[in-house]
Amino acid sequence: MKVIEIKNVTKTYNESEVHVNAVNGVTLDFKEAEFAAIVGPSGSGKTTLLNLIGGLDNPTSGEIIIDGTNLSGLKSSQLIDFRLRNIGFVFQAYNLIPVLTAKENVEFIMSLQKWSKQESDTRTFELLKAVGLSDRANSRPVKMSGGQQQRIAVARALASRPKFVLADEPTANLDSKSASTLLAIMEKLNHEEKITFIFSTHDARVVKMAHRVITLEDGKVVSDDIRE
């Protein structure tokens, strides 16, 4: 079953009257529970493509359809609500809310979706356990290592059971051990929760673990390698 359909999408930036096609005529599909990596050199359009899929940016042309909904047809406020209910984000710089504890960071998304306290508590406990940080529930991000913060970010991304998670260079700031732990957790959650994960990455370890590797160059898909 297709979760994401990208149809001939182009994103053009106009800088000093020079047109730059950051994404150029990309057509791709992602199915449920995929664990996919988008790779390519710097400036190849990985992050731009991820932003387009996440509804953070609008394509210049083409269509992005997520679970039957064409993102181009949504207003700004509808897009925000769509992201809240369907997409999880993991950022390179973790981007946790520093004044909240690990538990509160995970709960934040659920509170925006007006979950009941009981549901929210159960899900938070489940996710903190899954990322191996139950004992750090009441710690603030500043008291945690980079790897631990990114694991909390993964728990937050999965909190409201999104259809897929977009992770932009999630291991870029992590040491080797932390990166391996994080990837193992994400693969496990992908398997258990049947949630699609799409990474943009330079990291060979991510590429090695990915079930599908899409390579971009100059905004175009140059290879799409599905591994069994």
């Binding site: 932003n51 996440g54 953070l56 940016d57 406020s77 925000i80 609500d81 992201r83 809240l84 209910r85 997409i87 999880g88 984000f89 950022f91 710089a93 981007n95 809310i97 520093p98 004044v99 909240l100 509160e104 709960e107 934040f108 998304i109 509170s111 925006l112 979706q113 007006k114 979950w115 009941s116 306290k117 929210s120 937050r156 991304a157």
Partner: protein
């Protein structure tokens, strides 16, 4: 509910993210609110005291007189049918007490000076029910028509006594010990020794000598207190009053001082002499039952307008005026003061608002990555706006509440002890104000201030919150 409680919790924690900066803003709001509330309480106390003094020492709540009497001051314009008028007034609901008065304009004379005065003939027992003057007798100067005398008795103000050179200034051992008791430093008291044994017949001569002994700063700080303690008066001193009788013939009589009164209004003290009705009627040849004016005290000051209207209807041919008409400047001041408070408060809140806007703009700038992330993960604009607005309200309300608590306790203490500005007593007295001010404020005022602070917080958040809403999540997340 949970959604909003998480935003409230996050906003509150965000306020204390940068403790140093928040404490500076909170402190400035605290000081601003304290300054505003306390200044208003001080002004409120000053005006309330002035109105209270005017009502209980000078003009009373309502005055009844013959038509044109107030304008012409013609002693022939007496109240007709005084008995019936008095019983009509007494029967009116809301009237607490009344006093019948005879009013004559004349001259007060001593061997040294003469000055124009308003001579008010009163029945002391009646007058006590309406006016506080009986409680304003300066200790040691006599009493409120308490002693029987074959002579005509008069009660005059301290300022008039000074004007007529009835008072004396001298420094003796009692003066020196009193000054020490009142905290005047020993070196200042020591400078007074050369004046011991000398008597000064007027204030100017005493001040002239003091200027030779003290520096300008010392005179300003201790002069009023030294004058007060060096002041003395010979009980039973006499002076003459001259005025026109009922047939417009000039008459004069010697009056013995029964006491000196001290009220806040120096002009009133300087120009008003109280004598007994019987003495004045005898000297002017007015009939025993004739009066020029009836002053009235009401039970509830809020009903003064309606009681005035009722009496005016029941007493045709007489002029019935309440204090608001008699002293419109005083009435205008009490009416205007609310607007003044509003303008004063708005200026303070506007100044605070700019401080809060500046801080919140810095907050938005510093947290643009985080705010972009919140929009990216699905926090809608309304919630982002609410969070920034709550932070602004929390920031202003924390300082505001601290300022109000501080004001409350300072006002509570000073409303009992009073704020002594006797250094400026002459200036205050010349304007009719007391130099001992008791700040006061209503509980409702604190509620209004709280609401205004919340509104200020909300308004201050609008510009920074709009800035936050304009952040593009893609660019904001990319910001280092």
């Amino acid at each position: 509910m949970k959604n909003s409680s998480m935003i409230w919790k996050t906003a509150w924690k965000n306020v204390w993210r940068n403790k140093g900066r928040s404490l500076i803003v909170v402190s400035s709001v605290t000081i601003g609110i304290f300054a505003g509330v306390f200044s208003i309480a001080l002004m409120n106390g000053l005006i309330a005291q002035r109105v209270n003094d005017a009502l209980n020492e000078e003009i009373s709540y309502i005055q009844v007189s013959a038509q044109e009497f107030r304008i012409n001051n013609d002693s022939r314009l007496i109240i007709r049918n005084p008995e019936q008028t008095v019983s009509t007034i007494r029967a009116n609901e809301g009237v607490f007490a009344l006093s019948e008065r005879t009013l004559i304009t004349g001259m007060a004379n001593t061997a040294f000076k003469s000055t124009g005065v308003q001579i008010i003939g009163i029945n002391p027992a009646q007058e006590e029910q309406v006016f506080d003057l009986c409680n304003k007798i300066i200790p040691g100067t006599g009493d409120y028509f308490g002693k029987e005398s074959r002579l005509n008795l008069a009660l005059i103000g301290e300022e008039l006594a000074k004007e007529l050179n009835i008072v004396r200034y001298s420094v003796d051992s009692v003066t020196i010990s009193r000054l020490k008791e009142r905290g005047v430093p020993a070196n200042i008291v020591a400078k007074l020794v050369p004046l011991k044994g000398l008597k000064f017949t007027n204030e100017h001569a005493f001040i002239r000598e003091m200027k030779k002994l003290f520096t300008a700063g010392e005179s300003e700080k201790y002069g009023a207190l030294i004058k007060k303690e060096a002041w003395s008066y010979r009980e039973g001193a006499r002076f003459t009053l001259t005025f026109l009788d009922k047939d417009n013939n000039q008459v004069g009589a010697v009056f013995k001082l029964t006491g000196l009164y001290d009220v806040a209004n120096n002009m009133f003290e300087r120009a008003t002499v109280f004598v007994k009705n019987d003495d004045l009627k005898r000297l002017t040849g007015m009939p025993d039952d004739a009066f020029h004016q009836i002053i009235i005290k009401v039970s509830n000051s809020d009903k003064v307008n309606s009681i005035t209207d009722q009496l005016a209807e029941k007493l045709p041919g007489l002029e019935v005026m309440n204090w608001k008409k008699i002293q419109p400047d005083l009435a205008m001041m009490t009416d205007m003061v609310t607007q003044f408070y509003l303008i004063f408060g708005l200026i303070i809140l506007a100044a605070l608002a700019f401080g809060i806007i500046n801080t919140m703009l810095m907050v938005v700038l510093e947290r643009s990555r985080e705010l972009g992330m919140l929009t990216a993960i699905g926090m809608n604009k309304r919630k982002v706006f609410s969070m920034i607005m709550l932070e602004s309200v929390f920031l202003s309300l924390t300082g505001g509440l601290a300022g109000m608590i501080l004001s409350y306790f300072v006002i509570l203490i000073t409303s009992k002890t009073g704020i002594d500005l006797s250094q400026y007593a002459e200036g205050f007295g010349a304007l009719g104000y007391s130099a001992l001010i008791y700040p006061r404020i209503s509980a409702g005022f604190f509620v209004v201030v709280t609401i205004l602070i919340i509104i200020t917080g909300v308004i201050s958040s609008i510009y920074p919150a709009r800035k936050a809403l304009k952040l593009n999540p893609v660019e904001a997340i990319r910001t280092e």
